[in-house]
Symmetry: C2
């Protein structure tokens, strides 16, 4: 049996959902399963991951897990965005004891870009910025033909590149991070403030019609498609601030490709990547003539494919 | 004869001076020479470099040249900061025909950091930001244990990281780049504007006493040492804006070391690195616990040592 036929499980742990897939060596997803992310703490999350992976069958030889936290040298340093998680969770131990194969951990935005790099919109590129737009703004980097994680696994935090010192408050407690303008959570609280100030919007009606408990990417996409003025103003502001951050990063890193992924780009498509490019270009000093902006092509599968690729490289090649 | 005893010439082409040195494999500088940078165009610069290298003797087996421009795959793409240079100078050809050994080119800030990395303050570090403070603000990167030059040789331009959209005009034509606040040229024009507005300063008297034609790093250092209030305010503003830019870069790249080099740090020492660190820390999300800020240790030799190391790796190891 060749390595390409060996199956690996990829797990994408998000704040809302956990997705798993069984992935072959050519990065094809052969089976999928999905569940809501438990809010009762780490053990419930471990149990759900184990059940989902078991439900896939297929005897995976390794399991890769992308989590919304900082991972360095296989150790999870912090998991800031999961409900009910303290500081010192033994994620590797908790998963290893429940899963039938070796476990490799990675950061969710990093593995998302890894998925696009091995099998999607960033395939073959040497220097790539991944810009992940969801509840917050995450990112990943491929530099000089290799995934780059930084000294302690924290690299890629383009969401906390400053675009306006003393600007809007960010969830991290600082002011003026691009996430404070372009993350979905920040955009939602700005909408609420604007509505209190007398603005009209259909965003909340659409949220109810779609039976969502918040302003999801789907809700935003529908409001934008229906020409909701407040939604359009909020997106324009997000894009403008993303342009400043991405322009700065291109000046610093001279990448050849910016891949835009995550919930919002999945719904809004290449048009969103084009708008971010148009906002970023004026800030660039000397971009590569080959520089391109593309939307992710694996969409929802990027995290699963990337987590599987991470585990495959650690366990099989490693 | 071992490789360590093979001599290589390093050439550091600055806007003001050209420095050359004969460097052994242990990165020691065995002979030095220096001349003003000719302003009569490329041929005069090539001639001066050739004369300086010849004056060293020692039969170098390779020549490395750091220039203030963009170099990619051995080709010079642009040389924005030398007087009398057009767009299409054949720098490799012009130098190769005049020099007795193979020529390797690099960007000046990149080779400065390379010097510090092989033999100075950044030795052994895996992920490093070099912040080069002179007439402008330049930079270099070592990422994952390798010098990083980007897709087309433009990486490291921390001077054009945005710190204040719609802020001060920068020499690049954009607004709000950190160079517009912290580059010596910008600081000088701000001083001139402040003096016109009625501020007092000893900077220009010191310039005359030191027989300089502009506000050099030495002039700034003396004014600061003599408690000149305007000089101190200008430096405080430069440091504050550098803190924003460096904080953003640390969030993006998770480096373990920031090396501060160039004319101003050579004069102001570790205190300047400490002040930039203090200004940057509040903007950092999750810096490595090992993160340190240090001033360059090779001082004036960094460019020569780095250019020689570049040539050595290209010609001997390559």
């Amino acid at each position: 049996m060749g390595e390409r036929n060996v199956l690996v499980a990829g797990v994408d742990v998000g704040g809302t959902n956990i997705q798993v897939g069984l992935v072959s060596g050519d990065h094809e997803v052969h089976a999928r399963a999905k569940a809501l992310t438990p809010t009762a703490g780490p053990d419930a999350v471990f149990d759900t991951i184990a059940e989902l992976v078991a439900s896939l069958g297929g005897d995976p030889v390794a399991v890769g897990v992308g989590i919304p936290g900082v991972v360095h040298a296989g150790q999870v340093l912090t998991v800031p965005n999961l409900v009910g998680w303290g500081g010192d969770v033994d994620l590797v131990g908790g998963l290893t004891s429940r899963l039938p194969a070796p476990v490799t951990l990675g950061n969710d935005a990093n593995v998302g870009l890894l998925g696009e790099w091995v099998a999607g919109a960033a395939r073959g590129a040497r220097d790539v910025l991944g810009l992940w737009m969801g509840t917050g703004i995450g990112g990943g980097l491929v530099l000089d033909g290799r995934p780059y994680e930084g000294a302690r696994g924290s690299a890629g935090e383009i969401g906390h590149v400053l675009v306006q010192p003393d600007g809007a408050l960010c969830g991290c407690g600082r002011r003026g991070c691009v996430e404070a303008y372009a993350g979905r959570r920040s955009m939602g609280s700005s909408v609420a403030a604007m509505v209190e100030a007398g603005w009209k919007t259909d965003l909340f009606d659409i949220q109810d019609e779609e039976e969502k408990t918040g302003l999801t990417s789907k809700v935003w996409a529908r409001a934008l498609a229906e020409d909701d003025e407040l939604a359009q103003r909020m997106l324009a502001s997000a894009v403008q601030h993303l342009g400043v951050a991405v322009g700065s990063v291109v000046n610093l890193l001279d990448v050849e490709l910016v891949v835009v992924g995550g919930g919002m780009p999945e719904k809004l498509g290449q048009d969103l990547a084009d708008r971010i490019e148009a906002a970023a270009r004026p800030w660039m000093l000397r971009p590569s003539p080959d520089l391109r902006f593309v939307v992710s092509s694996l969409e929802d599968d990027a995290g699963v494919v990337g987590a599987a690729a991470l585990a495959r490289s650690a366990v099989i090649a490693g």
